[in-house]
Amino acid sequence: MKKRIYLFSILSFLIFPEKVLSQVFKTEKGNVEFLSKASLNEFTGKSSDLNGLVDLEKNLLDFFIDLNTLRTGIGLRDRHMRENYLETKKYPYAEFTGKIGTEINLVVGQSKSVIAKGKFKIHGVEREIEVPGKLTAISDSELQLEAKFTVLLSDYNIDIPTVVFYELAEDQIVSIRAILKK
């Protein structure tokens, strides 16, 4: 009996290794940029530590980023962003999990506009969002994804500094660009 269970579990490893699911694309080095466009002060924050997974077979998208990796170009502003606004010690990640609304049959070299629907979570608040994007099959094993969406800070209970010094826009334009590999 015991032996059989062991055997079964070992088999389960052999039968469903990840590689067999041929439509899984991943990255750990995707680019994220947010643009804060207030009337007097415009700045961007960047990170190239976006982790992402696109599974075309299961129609699953899963992305997350460690918010501590965002850089705006001014160290003190970054520290304030982490400590007072994003509160990264409590909520270290921004995450998106969802699926693509339309059917996707990608041919190598072709791009396709898609709309992803799913849950976006930041600062401990989760909301259903829709993200328009573009998928390009660069080769058999490489997939490029570009997407842009707007995050309304008040939707996620993120404060906006009241005493203005670096003015922060209420809506942040987030762009994502990543090349995912099999």
Partner: protein, 289 residues
């Protein structure tokens, strides 16, 4: 049997969770940040580092004693002491500063070096920095009967070690063994002490009351003299790139050497209003957008 079931569950786990990526931090070790709001905390320097190639500017004031009451606007009418200080970070660990205090027209040059940084995983439980400085009194003493003090006689030195820990998100404490040395503690200088060497232990405390404001405390017991100890209480307010620090303190001194040798009033009526403004300028290359 239990074991085998557990084994079975564990071995199947990858199949279940494979759908999503595992959330993991980008770096293993993260420094604890913003132990204090600024490189200054009331009058003392802190472990708070500056980013590489940034310039920090602090303008600090103290005024007369409170005991004059409203007639003297609680001391604001009486001789303010003002110190300007600029500190530039050559890299993330080392910065050089220059300061000038109006009392005795002292120019001070100093450096700060950050040796250890407290980490979030607590493997390094505190931050540690060193500070060394040298100053010269440039007052005009030509009215003196005796000869003018020489450059060497006008010199004084300061050294301190700052050890700080952020205990919780709200509470940070720094302990700073301090030393000041006057080549010639001339009675004409605006100090109360008459010895060359002054030893003290500085305590700095911060209690964060909101994201952008904290209550602050400073206590500097003297170790080798009978001068009164320095006590200061105040509030730090952060507004974007500025940190405003308002406090009551028993000494008018702003310069490190004078803080230890300058003498102190009695807490209460001897308190003086103090006010610092800290500002950081990024001088490094900034991406144009």
């Amino acid at each position: 049997m239990k074991k085998t079931i557990l084994f079975l569950i564990i071995s199947c786990l990858p199949l279940l969770v494979k759908a999503q990526l595992e959330r993991k931090p980008a770096t293993d070790v993260q420094d604890v940040e913003l132990i204090f709001h600024a490189p200054r905390h009331i009058n003392l320097l802190t472990v708070e580092p500056l980013d590489k190639k940034t310039l920090q500017f602090a303008i600090m004031h103290t005024f007369g004693t409170l005991d004059g009451g409203i007639q003297n606007l609680y001391g604001l009418d009486n001789g303010a002491n003002i110190q300007f200080s600029f500190e530039y970070a050559l890299n993330d660990k080392f910065s050089l500063g220059a300061a000038r205090q109006s009392r005795d027209k002292i120019y001070n040059l100093y450096g700060r070096y950050h040796i250890l940084k407290q980490t979030q995983d607590n493997k390094m439980p505190f931050s540690l920095s060193l500070m060394g400085g040298a100053g010269v009194n440039t007052s005009n003493y030509s009215f003196l009967q005796e000869s003018n003090p020489t450059f060497a006689e006008r010199s004084s030195f300061a050294f301190q070690m700052m050890g700080a820990r952020k205990f919780t998100d709200r509470i940070s404490v720094q302990v700073s063994p301090m030393l000041a040395y006057f080549v010639d503690p001339n009675p004409i200088f605006l100090i109360e002490g008459d010895q060359n060497l002054y030893l003290a232990l500085g305590f700095s405390g911060k209690y964060k009351i909101s994201g952008k404001s904290s209550l602050t405390l400073q206590w500097i017991p003297n170790l080798n003299n009978n001068l009164r100890n320095n006590l200061g209480v105040g509030i730090d307010l952060e507004a974007g790139g500025h940190v405003f620090q308002m406090y009551f303190v028993t000494s008018q001194a702003l310069n490190e050497q004078y803080l230890l040798a300058g003498g102190n009033g009695v807490p209460g009526e001897g308190f003086r209003i103090g006010f610092n403004v800290n500002r950081v300028f990024a001088t490094g290359r900034r991406k144009s957008k």
